[in-house]
Symmetry: C2
Amino acid sequence: MSDFRLDPRLERDTLVLGDLALCRVLMMNDARYPWLILVPRRPDLTELIDLIPADQESLFREIVEVSAALRAVHNPDKLNIGALGNIVRQLHVHIVGRFASDPAWPGPVWGHSPAHPYPAHMAGIARDRLIAALDPYGLRDGTT
Amino acid sequence: MSDFRLDPRLERDTLVLGDLALCRVLMMNDARYPWLILVPRRPDLTELIDLIPADQESLFREIVEVSAALRAVHNPDKLNIGALGNIVRQLHVHIVGRFASDPAWPGPVWGHSPAHPYPAHMAGIARDRLIAALDPYGLRDGTT
């Protein structure tokens, strides 16, 4: 069993918000959607149902917490939650705020089109608002 | 508050497997994928985070149960789990067995292409195997 290490594609495509009890919380670097990703900090995991039951409970609780924080900040028309992993096998759960005016609506965001990264001066603002909304759930700096 | 009633598009596009404690369990009538859908039997619900906490716990447990049953029957290369609801607003959760050889791979099945309904002589077989696999989780006839 190896230590947890974030998949390099997730690392490249996202900004880190911090860690909850189980998961690293990432923000997809795509300015078109408020899009968070939860990655359980457990090595060698692909399927949600292969987490031990206590970790499944933590993951579900964190899905609810992150959904609530995203909704509080962005008030989307719809939340989309998905665990696919057909390309990046490391277990990760997407939580995306969707708007009837977004480019992929009403289809899924996954596989729709390449990301539009945040301009450097905007990424920090988007990130900081979500970090503040996750503070009540115990988000902490995930860099250590 | 009205009683639970299945969305007519879900009713049209699926076959009923039965009811678990919280959810109606449906099989998408698309012979290309083993594809189950969980619908909490609660009226007027769109977002998972708007379920009361006890129902959230039931839903998560049933997601794990249905995922395990689907994997036991079909042994897919990957499970895809998704709650979108951009078109059909009634809260429902997809659990799809994906194969590297399926037509949508590695993209999502949602929005990929119109369903290929089961031939009448095959739907019953597909349905019965899944019903048997869900029996240990208390699946019961959902028509009453």
